[in-house]
Symmetry: C2
Subunit: 403 residues, 2 copies
Amino acid sequence: MSAARVLVAQGGGPTAVINQSLVGVVLEARRYGHVERIYGARHGVRGVINEDFIDLGQETALHLERVAATPASALGSTRDKPDLAYCQKMLAVLRAHAITHFFYIGGNDSSDTVRIVAEEAAKAGYPLRAIHVPKTIDNDLMGNDHTPGFASAARFVMQAFAGANLDNAALPGIYVAVVMGRHAGFLTAAAAAARTQADDGPHLIYLPERTFEIDKFLADVKAVHARLGRCVVAVSEGIHDASGESIAAKLATTVERDAHGNVQLSGSGALADLLCDEIKAKLGLKRVRGDTFGYLQRSFLGCFSDVDAREAREVGERAVQFALLGERSGSVAIRRSGDYAIDIVLQPLEVVAAKTRVMDDAFISAAANDVTPAFLAYLRPLLGNDVPQAVRLRSVPVAKVLK
Amino acid sequence: MSAARVLVAQGGGPTAVINQSLVGVVLEARRYGHVERIYGARHGVRGVINEDFIDLGQETALHLERVAATPASALGSTRDKPDLAYCQKMLAVLRAHAITHFFYIGGNDSSDTVRIVAEEAAKAGYPLRAIHVPKTIDNDLMGNDHTPGFASAARFVMQAFAGANLDNAALPGIYVAVVMGRHAGFLTAAAAAARTQADDGPHLIYLPERTFEIDKFLADVKAVHARLGRCVVAVSEGIHDASGESIAAKLATTVERDAHGNVQLSGSGALADLLCDEIKAKLGLKRVRGDTFGYLQRSFLGCFSDVDAREAREVGERAVQFALLGERSGSVAIRRSGDYAIDIVLQPLEVVAAKTRVMDDAFISAAANDVTPAFLAYLRPLLGNDVPQAVRLRSVPVAKVLK
């Protein structure tokens, strides 16, 4: 076999297990005698065009294992979304360093970059294998049952709501928490896994797959409060009105946009605060509190699903096997093959690239303010094997003496 | 020994380990043959005046152990701050139910209630032992080296900042996170434990023990950003200007006050958003993000310090021993007796009641924007024995070919 040189990079938002995929690529590539270099690009595609590489052959295996267990992109990441010229520049750098196998760990934008780079290499007759390794807490990649990173973030959201529900039961009031997810509601929906007893919160869940109507929202909150004396609400940051305008953008005084033209939703508590203000003003309820989970849900140290960590590692390993044993390009994907078991396949980049998967209708309640049992059945095996439990007293009442 | 009847209640904000103290009281009280009833009051002192009791003798030991491992007040809590008339009403209910030993798990306001009830009982010649069992994530109780609940919240804050620092290193920018703590900065200061390498964040820490000057803050952020190309900041919700006015209250359009007359600081992202707006407007920096840890830091399911859990359990047990073996009233306190070892003592209620401990000057840096090594030495043993580690690549650079 002719000499091979591997380059790996990480793009988009960090996750709790993205470094498992990185280390999966590196340790698997080390097994092949004809791989003479394993490089990592710093800060994703930007590191490629800047030739900002590190030598991953010079990391110890034990140290790599510790990095694998650390959240957030160890190589650094970027929000750059390369166009054709950018991708051609990338290819020039790959050729200069004689890179034969390129692995990009990222979401749907990253897979589009891999697609363009692979096409340009083919056009130029340069023998490059380019593989997209899936990663996103949003769980919005086409052709995947679920994506590495989602389950750990889902577990964070579940543990946060389980605790918030207990807190809200101890000191009753209204609690609204905003969860990441611009177009896909999977992560917000994961809040439902926090419920153990019938009256546990979240009592209401609002997803970007459905139109958000403020009057309907207020009526829902009022009804739950009337029944339970309290209400816990999970809201996706991506909720929007019937015209498609984001509720967050509608109410923000200043709007920041990223390189992709998207309105900045994270890194601000505005949406939660606004919804709380509406509840106070229109329903006249007291003790209304809003939280925004923000960056914690994707980067919190020490909260991950063991299933997610294992799968993230495996997609990295399989990516190398597809590229170096199979000499194929494509996008690695997770398919559910049993209850619970997965297959890891390689699908054409076009299936994933720049597309967005959203939640199935079967996962969303008819009233558009909750998930269905089908979603919980889908989610539960992903959360892992040592999920903490919230347990309440059985509370046998004592007869009153005075009253 | 004459028959004894025990009543236990939980007051104030929940913590991750307050149920350990509850279960410590219940299981220890069960060991005494003369204890004929163990009741719990629902929602703190409010449950006492409403005679809203449950029979904790009718909970199984295994179930109680599961409740002990669950965050937030299992009996429910209250923000009521009883005055003399309220306490006299409480005493009437205690007498009606022949309660001989009253345990109230809470912070400095709760200890003041215990003090008044104990005084009223003594005046009335009613043989009541009343014990305050310490609890607060704020760590602000006098006469305690630290308080149960603090270390678990500190660990949450540490893990959150460790992850946020990695996220910020992967996608550089400014990150500001607001931490609970109205008067005492201990919990915000715990962010410092997230640092492993010299350039790790948080790079700046602002505590309520020092005056917050917005110009100084902006200059600090600018200097860190110039040096590292990024900046992670920990800010206490209780920061205030030279006149003592809270920065959050100063900027909020509407201000909510609780029964104690305090401005509502939690349950809103306003302070973080405002500080981010200042940075964007005055420094012209991009990618400025703000998070508010909110209720997660005191209630997140599954994040606790094993040292904290053990000590919370022990103060509950010792409370019963002081009251039932020693026939004493008072406030249980933790004293540090070694590095690391503790004693659990009973101190007079007056030492704790309605007083607030703040951070020692020796724990705060001269520039008032960080903590000292002495604080880290104080904090580290409290965080527990299985603290997750953030590990970065060693990153041996590769020589450029093109440039």
